[in-house]
Each structure stands twice: as structure tokens, then as C-alpha cells.
């Protein structure tokens, strides 16, 4: 069986590129490249030895390659001191990387039509997914959006790998002025989409899921939650998700996700503990005290 356990490695930076508003950095990390599946992420320690920044930074993986034994490229916006430090790395600097982490995007068994929706740098993890889907004979259509043209990530690749690529910007500087969800229904209809994959900010994922539900297609969405560890030990990254048994639990984005079925996320309750979540204040143990029995 394939080893899916994440690894912790220290590897040299290979390339650092500026991609419009974002930074793309590749690092030699063979164990991670080999195990990676689309939708998974990595964490990077920032600030060097004796850093004053104690949490790991979760990052979207844009691409893995087999050169130098295996490299991983991640994409981020240099907001805050940790990611600014990361953006200042130069080739041959060493980075501590952990990955691949989290549940990957589930793949369709058959050659079906897939719409991939990305918001901002949330597009990054969709390209390795697109390649994988294409190899399985799936049709891929992209919808990418952001506030302005410089923040729409990967327009060239999207044009190359997808049947169609539609872009939206808040200021109209690229493609359609508006949000991805303004054009999504038409793309779903035109491409005869069977499934929707999305990654980006929570409100975008909520609206994409609502549209997918309206068209009765499944939505696989990757959330971007704030994380302290990325490995499942700290419980900072939780959101309310409905389980197979109908019970809402505070699920860890880093380990139970980041990919969830969109319909299962209680988007309107994100940031709260819903009153009926397992173990919420006032929650009473019923016959399903251990949370294992059926029924909500």
C-alpha cells in the first residue's frame, strides 16, 4: 500500500518567483512530493532558528515535480511577518516543511465533467487537481476570480489545461466584473458539469456550494482556516461539519479536511458552536452519547 503518512523535512529553496500579487516558492522535499495528492497542503516553520513565531504556516501546494528527487512549490500572499519572512527566502536557504497534510480531493471514478472554482491564491491547489482529472479523461472547466487582475492566480495554466476558463474580478480589470458565483451557473450549464471543486474564502465556498446544490451536483470544497499546527493536535482550526450519521461535530480543517463535501459544512454557523453540535453548551447526551449512533 502507498505510504500516505506526512513527513517532516528540511530542504533547500530551489526557486522563488513573484507571480503578480503572490509569491511562489519551490523547495526540495522528496518525501512530500512523492506522497502528495491534490488538495493536500504543507506547513512551513517561519523565522528561522529561535524564531519568535511559534505556529506553523499552512500553505497551498501549487505543484510537485520529480526533479532533484522531488520538489514542492507553494503559493502565498506575503501578508504578516511570517509570510513576509518566507517571501524573502533565497535559493539554497533551508526550510522546515511538513506534509503532505490533510484529506485530498476525492476523485471521480469515471470520466466526468468537472468545474474548478478558485478565489485568489485559493486557485493554486486546483491545477494539480486539473492535471489529475484530465489524465483520468475528465473534462475540466475553470472559473477563477479575485479582487483585481493581479490577484487572479494561474490564468495562463487555466487556459492551457481547461476546456474553458472564465475569469472574474471585483474591479473589472480582468474578465467579467463581479464574483465567481455570478458566472458559475452558466459554466455549470454550458459544461454539463457533474461535479464542482472549489478552494477559496469561506463566503465564496458557501455561495459555490449553494449553486452546486441548486444544480444538484456534488461540491468538494477546500477550506482555508487559521491553523496553529496543521497536524491535528491543537484544535484551533475547527468548523461545524455534519457527519455521515447526521451529527454536527466541530471538525478539524487540517486533518478531517481541508476538503469537505460542501453540503456538509454549516457555513452560516462557521465561527460559532451551533447549539446542536456534539458537546455544545447545553448539549445532552442522548442514546448516541459517544456520538457513534445514528440520528441527529
Amino acid at each position: 500500500m502507498r505510504d500516505v503518512r506526512p513527513v517532516q523535512t528540511r530542504g533547500p529553496v530551489l526557486t522563488v518567483r513573484r507571480v503578480d500579487s503572490y509569491h511562489a516558492l519551490s523547495v526540495v522535499a522528496p518525501g512530500i512530493a512523492e506522497r502528495f495528492r491534490p488538495g493536500q497542503f504543507v506547513t512551513v516553520a517561519v523565522g528561522g532558528e529561535r524564531s519568535s513565531m511559534v505556529t506553523a504556516r499552512p500553505l497551498h501546494v501549487h505543484d510537485v515535480k520529480s526533479d532533484y528527487g522531488g520538489t514542492v512549490e507553494f503559493v502565498f500572499e506575503a501578508t504578516g511577518p511570517g509570510l513576509t519572512w518566507l517571501a524573502e527566502r533565497r535559493p539554497r536557504d533551508l526550510l522546515d516543511v511538513v506534509g503532505p497534510l490533510g484529506r485530498p480531493f476525492p476523485l471521480p471514478r469515471d470520466a466526468v465533467n468537472c468545474v474548478l472554482v478558485g478565489g485568489g491564491y485559493g486557485s493554486a491547489p486546483l491545477f494539480s487537481l486539473a492535471h489529475t482529472l484530465r489524465r483520468r479523461g475528465c473534462r475540466v472547466d475553470f472559473v477563477l476570480g479575485a479582487a483585481d487582475a493581479g490577484r487572479v492566480f494561474g490564468t495562463l495554466t487555466a487556459r492551457r489545461v481547461a476546456e474553458t476558463a472564465t475569469f472574474t474580478t471585483g474591479d473589472g480589470s480582468l474578465g467579467v466584473r463581479g464574483r465567481v458565483t455570478d458566472v458559475l451557473p452558466q459554466v455549470i450549464v454550458d459544461s454539463r458539469a457533474d461535479v464542482l471543486y472549489a478552494c477559496g474564502p469561506m463566503p465564496m465556498l458557501r455561495d459555490c456550494t449553494a449553486i452546486a446544490m441548486k444544480y444538484e451536483i456534488p461540491a468538494q470544497v477546500a477550506v482555508e482556516e487559521s491553523m496553529a499546527c496543521g497536524t491535528g493536535v491543537c484544535m484551533t482550526c475547527v468548523l461545524p461539519v455534519i457527519g455521515d450519521d447526521g451529527v454536527t461535530r466541530m471538525a478539524r480543517a487540517c486533518t478531517d479536511g481541508p476538503v469537505f463535501r460542501g453540503e456538509r459544512i454549516r457555513f452560516d454557523d462557521v465561527g460559532t458552536i451551533p447549539y446542536d453540535a456534539l458537546g455544545a453548551p447545553g448539549w445532552k447526551p442522548g442514546p448516541d452519547a459517544a456520538g457513534t449512533a445514528r440520528g441527529a
Binding site: S51, V54, A228, V233, R249, L278, A290
Partner: protein, 327 residues
């Protein structure tokens, strides 16, 4: 480099800190959990607990504020799923417990004592006492803390050591330590997170959501060293487990020199999931560098009178000295 906390014998002094290692399973992907001195579990409650709303953390200089709110599936799932797994991996399990009152702590002690393999119970006292006015933490009131320790010690199986985990947010930690020791604690763990707050200058709201959080990471290490030092001075025979901001072997050594017989690693695991074993290696090297081969020789060494240098070693035997008066 073995050590002992009461009856709990450990092959080495480095443990994980409660709430920073879940129940060990996630970390087992990065290191062999049987190689750590012990795995201390996330605090276990009687029933499932959903915890606090998000955001639950804020990074601060050399630290982290967290307000997780003890999210967990409860003791039933712990006993069915997590404890057997930990033991199957050959790890020593120290189970942290939390409750709203003496009765809940006592019931947890009974449940855990019925299960084979619990190496020790660590009482998380940084939990609001439901019966107190304003829900003051047990750890902030020597009497309330002692009542919990007594309830747990009297119900837990006699051979399972009970550790009381103290908070630095008190005027006199030595008084709380004495109260817990008198109530039967076999050892003390110090420190739990002191309270702190950050305010997000974009949203203009406190983070974590809802106000204060517990501060951890290197920012709190001097507080931990001081607490361990003072309590060891007052109660030199009582085993102490040091915790707070340990990210290297030298940090761990500081706590040992202050008086700790074992050291826990928490926040450091977030950026370095295999930190416990690295810190153990570094601690061994550091002791070696000082020519100390037994951990017990280093415990509390910083308490030596001023002017003493080097490591005080016991002489081989006492020989009789005869003086020659006639020189």
C-alpha cells in the same frame, strides 16, 4: 536517562504537554511515541465537549494565545479508542482530566482507574469552578484546588500517581502547591498557561474570539522557571514536572536545574512535530557537556548556594583523616 514521578517510572524525562499532542496518534506519524518519556493527553472530560468558537488562537511575540475550550469526545471515546491505541504503541500514558466540580473529577478518576495502563493522572486545574462566584479557576484558589486533588487522590487507584497542574496566575503559587501536596498530590506540573489578550487592530475585536486566552510558548518560560524554582525550594521532596516554552534541550535543562524531574513540550510541537525527541537528544547532550550522567544529579542544581561552581558529586567514601601534629 530515566526519571521517576512518584511511582511513575519513565525511561526519559521528556513528555508532551496536555492539549499539544491530542492523544498521540497524530504525532505517531512523525515519531515513535514510545520513545518519549510519556504522552500527556488532551484534558479528558466526562462528556463530549465542543469547545469555544473560532478564532481560537492568536500568535503573539514568542508566544501563542489559545482558547480551545477543552474540545474533546469525552471519557467513553477516550477509553474505547485513544487509550488502548496509546498503550498498543508501547507509550506511557499520562491522562489529563478536567471537570466542573469535585464530583466530575472524582468520577473521571474512578473511570480511569478501572482502565488498565494509565501511568498517571494529571489534574488540569485551570478550569472554571462551576460552584464559585464568577467561575474562578480551581487553580486560582488553594482550597478549591486542594478539594479537587483530594477528590481525585481518594478515588484513583492507589498505585496511579496523581499530578496537580498549577496556574501561574496566583499571588502565591507556593501556597497552592502546599495545599495540593497536603491534599495528597504525588507531584505537581507547572505551569499551565497564564491569561493574556490580544486585540486585532483590523477587526478591532479581541482574539481569540470572546476575549482572553492562555499564553504559551517561549514568552512564558521565565515564569515557568520561576514557579518551578520557588516550589522546589519550598517542597524539595515533591516531584515537579516543568512545562512552559521549552523549544530546546537547554530550555528543558533550565527547568530541570530549577527543580523539575521531567519536562513537557507543548507549543514547540506546532512548528516542529518531532520536537520532543529532538529536545530529549539535546538535553542528553547538554547534561553530557556538564559531565552529568544522571538526571537526578541535575534536578534543582540551580539552588546551590552562591559561589559554588561545577557539579557537586558525592565522594566515593568518607575516609578518616589523621593529622600530623609534629611537623
Amino acid at each position: 536517562m530515566s526519571t521517576a514521578i512518584g511511582r511513575l517510572e519513565l525511561p526519559n524525562p521528556i513528555m508532551t504537554a496536555s492539549g499539544c499532542a491530542a492523544s498521540g496518534r497524530e504525532l505517531a506519524r512523525f515519531f515513535d511515541v514510545s520513545k518519549a518519556g510519556a504522552i500527556v493527553t488532551k484534558s479528558v472530560l466526562l462528556r463530549p465537549h465542543a469547545g469555544r468558537p473560532t478564532p481560537r488562537m492568536a500568535e503573539t511575540p514568542s508566544g501563542l494565545l489559545n482558547a480551545i475550550g477543552l474540545q474533546g469526545p469525552g471519557v467513553d471515546v477516550f477509553l474505547q479508542r485513544d487509550l488502548p491505541w496509546l498503550l498498543s504503541r508501547g507509550a506511557r500514558a499520562v491522562v489529563s482530566i478536567a471537570g466542573g466540580g469535585d464530583e466530575e473529577y472524582a468520577e473521571l478518576a474512578i473511570r480511569l482507574s478501572e482502565a488498565p495502563g494509565v501511568g498517571a493522572i494529571e489534574i488540569n486545574l485551570s478550569v472554571p469552578n462551576v460552584a464559585s462566584r464568577g467561575g474562578r479557576d480551581f487553580a486560582c484558589d488553594a482550597r478549591a484546588a486542594a478539594a479537587v486533588v483530594n477528590a481525585v487522590r481518594s478515588r484513583a487507584r492507589y498505585d496511579v500517581p496523581v499530578l496537580a497542574k498549577l496556574s501561574p496566575d496566583v499571588t502565591d503559587i507556593v501556597a497552592v502547591a502546599h495545599a495540593c501536596a497536603d491534599a495528597g498530590a504525588d507531584g505537581l506540573t507547572m505551569i499551565n498557561t497564564p491569561r493574556g489578550m490580544a486585540i486585532d487592530t483590523t477587526t478591532l475585536r479581541p482574539v481569540p474570539a470572546g476575549g482572553p486566552g492562555g499564553l504559551s510558548g517561549p514568552a512564558v518560560r521565565p515564569i515557568a522557571v520561576d514557579c518551578v524554582f520557588r516550589v522546589h525550594e519550598a517542597l524539595p521532596e515533591l516531584p515537579i514536572v516543568g512545562v512552559g516554552g521549552v523549544t530546546s534541550g537547554l530550555d528543558a535543562l533550565e527547568l530541570v536545574l530549577a527543580g523539575a524531574r521531567a519536562v513537557q513540550v507543548g507549543t514547540a510541537i506546532f512548528a516542529d512535530p518531532s520536537a520532543p525527541l529532538r529536545i530529549l537528544r539535546e538535553l542528553e547532550e547538554a547534561l553530557d557537556g556538564h559531565g552529568i550522567d544522571r538526571l537526578s544529579d541535575a534536578v534543582g542544581l540551580a539552588h546551590r548556594p552562591p559561589g559554588t561552581v561545577g557539579v557537586m558529586r558525592l565522594g566515593e567514601s568518607r575516609r578518616r583523616v589523621d593529622f600530623d601534629d609534629r611537623h
